[in-house]
């Protein structure tokens, strides 16, 4: 078996806070093959952005390992780490904050090219920058060359950000809410551009979003991981997740999403949650962190034992005691000791195989 491009193995991230630590990411294991699309869906505080930064090597997790082609990135020598750095790029959410206001588009794109010796001389730099601008559908590229970010629209800036990520020929782009701050009429064409990069350049994506519609349209052939309070609660191929959600949280999300269709959306019933309020990250509930809101809550089980992410069929993983019991007849019991975690067959190194289309 070849190594996945990126694998997170039991990764946790605790930020120091005045009153103890904030566990932004809690024991997350994910893996991504080259050219694959994985969507990380969650609401604010779910830890999806932190997970993205960990994948991009911008944050060092407090525990767990991040492996790039099988090698732990935080144990790599300098040269390998640099190669990994360039292989994984990030595109941010806010088009107004992601470009340095004092540089022209040309400077923004030419600097990484020159730094890494990918172009020689100014003429070649100009030529390559023009190519990149065309790749991200900024046409005619000449007219954008010496523009400052503030002279561009939000959508155009986002395209410059994407072009900047492409300068170093990445294998994976972490797109953190990359389309959520642009207008709907622009959003689709931005998504189309990204999709084309995936198809033509073979770039993989870790697509981080709170918007299931974007997950659906961008990752229909990929997988979605739903995060809640730092944990992955469901991991499944996109069509299955959208049309047959398993975890009660995913179900609630899909039942709650307003649809752009009056009849469909007004048929959606009232929320079946026990509580509307999201717990603070400083006081994550014991057991299953969703239990204070969960309609399937079982006292003595959900508030005591933490459910593991277990397979419920050949494609899907769910972290819920009740669903797991109904689907498989066993309780998704958390391993007793920390040593036990790594030996747990369910979330070992083979995790990447779960949830994929059986092809």
């Amino acid at each position: 078996m070849t190594e996945p491009l990126i694998a997170l193995d039991h990764v946790s991230m605790v930020f120091k806070a005045r009153r103890g630590g904030v566990k932004a990411v809690d024991d997350v294991s994910l893996s991504l093959e080259a050219g694959e699309v994985l969507c990380l869906v969650g609401e604010s505080g779910s830890g999806k952005t932190t997970t993205g930064k960990i994948v991009a090597g911008l944050l060092k997790p407090t525990s767990g390992s991040v492996r790039f082609r099988g090698q732990d990135i935080w144990q790599m020598d300098k040269a390998r780490f640099k190669a990994y750095r360039r292989a994984v790029q990030i595109v941010h959410q806010d088009p107004y904050a992601s470009l340095n206001p004092i540089h022209t588009v040309f400077t923004i794109l030419a600097t990484p090219l020159q730094r890494h010796g990918m172009v020689r001389g100014r003429a070649e730099a100009v030529r390559r920058v023009l190519e990149l601008l065309e790749t991200v559908d900024l046409t005619p590229p000449e007219s954008f060359l010496f523009k400052y970010p503030h002279q561009l629209s939000g959508g155009q800036r986002q395209r410059v950000s994407i072009a900047r990520a492409l300068t170093v020929n990445p294998e994976l782009i972490v797109a953190d809410e990359a389309t959520s701050m642009v207008d709907v009429s622009i959003r689709v064409s931005l998504l189309n551009t990204l999709q084309r990069l995936r198809d033509e350049l073979g770039v993989g994506f870790l697509f981080i979003t709170h918007d299931l519609a974007i997950a659906k349209y961008f990752a229909w052939h990929g997988r979605v991981a739903v995060m809640y309070l730092g944990r992955v609660v469901e991991f499944s191929p996109t069509p299955a997740l959208i049309n047959d959600p398993q975890h009660p949280y995913t179900r609630a999300l899909l039942a709650a999403i307003p649809e752009p269709d009056p009849d469909l959306t007004r048929r959606k019933g009232k929320l079946q949650l026990r509580s509307l309020d999201i717990p603070s990250l400083l006081h994550i509930p014991p057991g299953c962190s969703f239990h204070p809101r969960c309609p399937l809550f079982e006292a003595g089980l959900c508030d005591v034992q933490r459910p593991d992410l277990v397979p419920i069929d050949e494609k899907r993983l769910v972290a819920c005691h009740v669903v797991a019991r109904e689907r498989t007849g066993t309780i998704a019991k958390h391993a007793a000791s920390p040593v036990g975690i790594s030996s747990d067959p369910v979330i070992g190194a083979d995790l990447g195989e779960y949830g994929k289309e059986s092809s």
């Binding site: 064409s189 349209y217 999403i257």
Partner: protein
């Protein structure tokens, strides 16, 4: 009875609560005059809910502010009429009110909850103090009356009055603050409430809760709503009628089902095709080509023509009027007959 079915009944009543005619708002900036709202006319009937949808910079927020005469410095209503009918039937001209009258008009007759309402609460005052201040600033009410009303309204928005009234804003979650703002907007029993992006920046489950609250409020109380949003699903949820704005103009108005299932303006159609349903099959999605218009020099003729797939030579020349395209459905497109929503299923669920 579902909310949108009520619209037909309210359409029967002859006199609207709010009647806007040929409203023109301009921003005078160094770069030039921005034509933010152009020739906007619409009626809002009693108990009705209208969604004003459009993308950033289309003039929808400016329109909302103009209705309350809350425009920022540098912006002016240069033409048009805003008529408001009081509960006693008296019709007033909002543009003629003096400073004192307009202050009472806001909140008492017409309240507005702004975008970013999450930060609209004063962080150093308890919710109760802010309720009291708001009530006292706009109407003569006793302390007990304000207390009684606040408690009733907070219960209506699914909050515990005792806990929330004594809380500082930072002790409440985003969704709770938003519900406090909604309760506050209803404090003086206004006939109209304008909500600017009421669910933006809220999590999905919180959004759903807000939507449910607004629905139940409309069932229990008697007021009209004007929503300003870029969010089509929200309009689908809450509106009786939908008005699409583009480049400062209202370009299509109709019953919510008409607009979503039978749009007759290429821009509305484009928006709907850009935002497909989540549950169900994979439909084709498409974007609107081009970039949003410059409102200092809006395109000639139909402002949408440079981005419109249906555009012909006539569109650049002639400004389209709002054509009657169906029952209570108007569209500002010369070729509205050709505009038709067709959705293609790209792939099914399995």
């Amino acid at each position: 009875m579902a909310a949108w079915q009520r619209s037909s009944a309210s359409n029967g009543t002859p006199a609207p609560v709010l009647s806007v005619r040929n409203l023109e708002v301009r921003y005078f900036t160094r770069a030039g005059t921005v034509q933010a709202v152009r020739d906007v006319s619409f009626d809002l009937h009693a108990g009705e809910s209208i969604a004003l949808i459009g993308e950033s910079g289309c003039g929808k927020t400016t329109l909302g502010l103009a209705l309350l005469r809350l425009l920022p410095k540098g912006a002016r209503i240069v033409d048009g009429e805003i008529r408001y009918r009081r509960r006693n039937g008296q019709v007033i001209d909002v543009l003629q009110l003096d400073q004192e009258e307009i202050r009472r008009f806001r909140w008492q007759e017409c309240a507005m909850v702004f975008q970013g309402a999450l930060n609209a609460l004063n962080p150093v005052l308890r919710v109760w103090d802010q309720m009291l201040d708001t009530a006292r600033a706009h109407a003569a009410l006793s302390r007990d009356e304000v207390r009684e009303r606040s408690e009733r309204l907070l219960r209506m928005v699914q909050l515990e009055p005792e806990r929330v009234l004594n809380a500082y804003p930072h002790e409440l979650s985003g969704g709770m603050r938003q519900r406090v703002m909604i309760a506050m907007s209803l404090l003086l029993d206004p006939q109209i409430i304008i909500y600017d992006e009421p669910t933006t920046a809220l999590d999905i489950l919180t959004q759903r809760a807000i939507i449910e609250v607004l629905r139940s409020l409309r069932d229990q109380l008697d007021f009209s709503m004007l929503f300003i949003s870029h969010d089509l699903p929200l309009a689908a949820e809450l509106a009786d009628r939908v008005a699409t704005m583009y480049a400062g103009k209202i370009i299509e108005v109709g019953d919510v089902r008409e607009i979503f299932y039978n749009p007759r303006h290429p821009y509305t159609l484009g928006l709907i095709k850009a935002v497909p349903p989540i549950v169900g099959e994979l439909y084709d999605i498409s974007s609107i080509p081009g970039t949003p218009p410059n409102l200092i020099e809006p395109p000639s003729g139909c402002s949408f023509h440079p981005r419109c797939p249906y555009a012909r030579e006539r569109c650049a020349r002639e400004v389209p009027p709002l054509y009657e395209v169906g029952s209570l459905h108007t569209s500002a497109c010369h070729y509205w007959q050709e505009v038709k929503l067709e959705r293609q299923v790209v792939e099914t669920g399995d």
